[in-house]
Amino acid sequence: MLDHVIIGQYVPGKSFVHRMDPRAKLICLMLFVVFLFISRHPFVLIGGLILTTTAFYYAKIPLRFYIKGMRFIVIIILFTFILHLFLTREGPAIFSTPIFTIYLGGVTQGGFMATRLLVLFIMASLLTLTTTPVALTDGLETLMKPLKKLGVPTHELAFMMSIALRFIPTLLDETAKIIKAQRARGANFTQGSLWNRLKAVIPIFIPLFVQSFKRAEDLATAMEARGYEGGEGRTKFRLLTWLKKDTYAVIVFALYALIVLIVKIGGGN
């Protein structure tokens, strides 16, 4: 049941997006996220849709696999849509009962928000699907470098993140194993009252915590044994290389940002 979690999972490949510099991908994503939400003009959303489809096409991640991992996100998106549907009171009423009335504004607003979220999620997961966790944190670390002057422990932050990302699959594996072991002992997670189901989770979480603490301790010992002492003077084994196509990609996204800004100032909403 944990087979289809795609957050933090990397799908190996050799596509255009896979081979991009992680820094470029991060910059593009940041530009995209900020400027997608800055304006409500339809042009902005259409532009976002075009960019997403293009990126999606170049990433070459099988669609089938993608849809499976999105089930949970779809629930959130539907929820947003329904909220907007009932709570927005703009435009002419198109459907009314004694209890509630649905306005045209609600449908368009809901649809707008839902598409926005969908596009945002696809873009964000494209980043983790096409970038190894190591490359991702390397990219983040270099992008955060200016903050170091302000005393932000950038190396430590990036390192914490890469450890966290690194252990997501391990933890998932381990959870699956413990669930199996407890199911073999008759645990039932799908039947009974809510209270019983909550109680059924205890035999999973306690072993999981115990194992995680042990693992953290082992990892710390192993790092110390190999002389790890933080980011000072540390050189990199993998060097990031910025190619022309990375510049082009950033230019495309920067253009998008510029257009959004023009629309925003010109259109006023």
Binding site: D3, H4, V11, P62, R64, F65, K68, E174, K177, I178, K180, A181, Q182, R183, A184, R185, G186, A187, N188, T190, I202, P203, I206, P207, V210, Q211
Partner: protein, 288 residues
């Protein structure tokens, strides 16, 4: 209980880029009250196969029968619950499943899940803890305070307390010292001999264990059945086993070397215990 597998296949993460066929075209029949060992290299499908036997995984093709129960693609979770009551499973590093406040409570978790009253569960749990050699003064301790070997024993007692007819062991002694290993293998063998309704299926990398305890050996390779038979039949085929990346027990290896070097054709190389091996060597030396 009799166990059969008919044309069984299993694919992990079907319909994703990570799709992996772990088992295909697998057929097997195991009689009631047998000690079976499954050997094979890492990734040969051993663990996948044994998980199909108590419904932790459902075959993507074919069917498995355990006594009167059938497990196939669409078997309901409710039925699997009854199967799990009959088929106990000890995973690798079973101490990772411990969670409760006290040793006794942890062992009682299984029987209570399968509908035993508190009193009955306590009784059977104490019996199984005694069987695995855990002293009563440890019953009220936290399982996390125990030593590694003790934790392993408690976890095994937790599975035995379900009173299964078939016990599946996935490398139950991984990471233990030789003494701990010997102790646990003997406890499990004792449990097996305790009633003629009981069967054991042991997944192992150690040829010595397979030869000493099992009556029947299954050799797996790349998700398929490669060889099957008694330990004598299987371990007589050294070349075939080596081609599969497997070895033969040390005792057989020693006697084989002796036979080669001495040229004495009378030496029987298929001996699995130290006692039998020593006797074979003594008779070669002409002493009784």
């Amino acid at each position: 209980m009799q166990i059969t597998a008919t044309d069984v296949a299993y694919t992990y993460m079907k319909d994703t880029p990570f799709e992996k066929k772990a088992l295909h075209n697998f057929n097997i029949r195991l009689k009631n009250h047998t000690y079976t060992a499954i050997i094979g290299q890492t990734g040969s499908g051993k663990s996948t196969f044994v998980q199909l036997l108590n419904g932790l995984l459902k075959p993507t093709e074919g069917e498995v029968t355990i006594g009167d129960w059938k497990i196939y693609k669409d078997t309901k979770e409710k039925e699997l619950y009854f199967i799990r009551k009959r088929v106990g499973m000890v995973f690798q590093f079973p101490e990772h499943q411990l969670f409760d406040e006290t040793v006794l409570k942890d062992v009682m978790y299984g029987p209570i899940n399968f509908g035993k009253s508190k009193k009955e569960a306590e009784e059977i749990s104490k019996e199984m803890l005694t069987l695995v050699g855990i002293e009563p003064d440890l019953y009220e301790r936290s399982p996390f305070e125990l030593s590694g070997g003790q934790m392993r024993r408690v976890a095994i007692a937790g599975v035995l307390a379900i009173e299964p007819s078939v016990l599946i062991l996935d490398e139950p002694t991984a990471g233990l010292d030789p003494q701990g290993h010997e102790g646990i293998m003997n406890i499990l063998f004792q449990w097996y001999k305790g009633s003629d309704e009981r069967s054991i299926i042991l997944v192992t990398h150690q040829m010595e264990d397979a030869s000493r305890y099992a009556e029947h050996i299954i050799v797996m390779d790349k998700g398929e059945l490669a060889m099957e038979g008694t330990p004598e039949e299987v371990f007589a085929q050294q070349k075939e086993l080596e081609a599969l990346g497997l070895g033969i027990p040390e005792t057989v290896k020693l006697l084989k070397l002796l036979k080669e070097k001495s040229g004495d054709k009378k030496i029987n190389t298929v001996k699995f215990t130290l006692g039998d091996t020593v006797e074979e060597i003594l008779s070669f030396l002409g002493k009784d």
